[in-house]
């Protein structure tokens, strides 16, 4: 049986259908989840997709973070369920305190949309085990508020514990501290990143297929667990 991966749609989510498509292309069973639901429909993992939930009102992700479905996501994440936040999903995970730090407006003060080179810093998470440490990949990056910030203590802890998962290379596109593009929680089951793996799963629509490893990683993890 292929793993069931839920994709939450918030009002203003943009990339939920791309995430659903990517899961299917990579061999999983996508399950669409509604933000107002208080049930995860028995999924094995959850993706919070990119977009502009609630129009980015107040702060990106600040209102979505309190959507009914998020209570379940937080509970399941704390219990070890793999959760991936992409772009707006990353912002929601930070607002929900499932991940430390915050995302602020790009220092360049423009919306950035490009094929971004990244270095994989850790393969020790449920979403990145199919990468190798030090591997160079390219993923689509598109955001206005992707500057990762955190206080010195948090940054030191992230670095010391190997929880910086991806770093921007060949230029920092948004002023993120320590060139951070993605991080994980202590347990490694919750991962957030600004670039978009779901846009990089086939030749037709992405510059690379480097996004596929995210899905194969979590499928491996879930299959091994079963």
């Amino acid at each position: 049986m292929s793993p069931k991966i839920g994709v939450v749609t918030f009002p203003g989510s943009l990339d939920d259908q791309d995430a659903v498509r990517a899961i299917r292309l990579c061999g999983g069973e996508p399950v669409s989840l509604w933000h107002g639901s208080d049930d995860l429909d028995g999924v094995d993992a959850v993706i919070l997709p990119g977009g502009f939930s609630y129009g980015d009102y107040l702060r990106c992700g600040a209102i979505s973070r309190f959507a009914p479905v998020m209570a379940e996501v937080i509970k399941s994440a704390d219990a070890g369920m793999p959760v991936l936040g992409i772009c707006n999903g990353f912002q929601i995970l930070c607002e929900a305190h499932l991940l430390p730090g915050a995302l602020i407006r790009n220092d360049v003060r423009v919306f950035v949309c490009k094929d971004q080179d990244l270095q994989v810093e850790s393969a020790d998470t449920t979403w990145t085990s199919d990468f190798t440490r030090g591997q160079m990949i390219t993923l689509v990056l598109k955001n206005g508020e992707g500057g990762y910030v955190a206080d010195e203590d948090t940054l030191r802890r992230l670095e010391d514990e190997g929880r910086v998962i991806f770093r921007y290379v060949n230029g920092n596109p948004n002023g993120s501290f320590h060139d951070i593009a993605g991080i994980c929680n202590e347990r490694g089951n919750v991962v957030g990143l600004m670039p978009h793996p779901e846009h990089n799963v086939d030749r037709l629509t992405g510059p690379t297929q480097d996004g596929r490893a995210f899905f194969s990683s979590v499928f491996d993890f879930l299959t091994a667990k079963v």
């Binding site: 107040l58 602020i104 407006r105 003060r109 500057g147």
Partner: protein, 129 residues
Amino acid sequence: MARVVVDVMPKPEILDPQGKAVTGALARLGFAGMSVRQGKRFELEVEGEVTEERLAEVRRAAETLLANTVIETFDVRVEPAPASAAEDTDAEVSDAEDSGAEDNGAEENTAAENVAESAEEAELTAQAG
């Protein structure tokens, strides 16, 4: 109804790209020597009396939703009632007098209480500030 204002500002060590853009625009317009940091102001119309408990609740609301304390600081204060609201209160008192309240002393007490409340509010403002 009282108005409680929550001001939210980016922490000093956090880059403020919006403030930077505004600073640049001001300079281009000839407003020299002005450096801007941009925040948010929330106006909460709060039902009932603004007690210290109620203010604590507003602070909790600010911490929970209005501000992200990872990157922002917030300040809660009670805004003095606008002049029109004060007139309304007076009108109510005089209405009561017109209705033939026998004990004028009681009405005076009510007015005195109102004043006391205002003073209390002012004190709360000072504390919150």
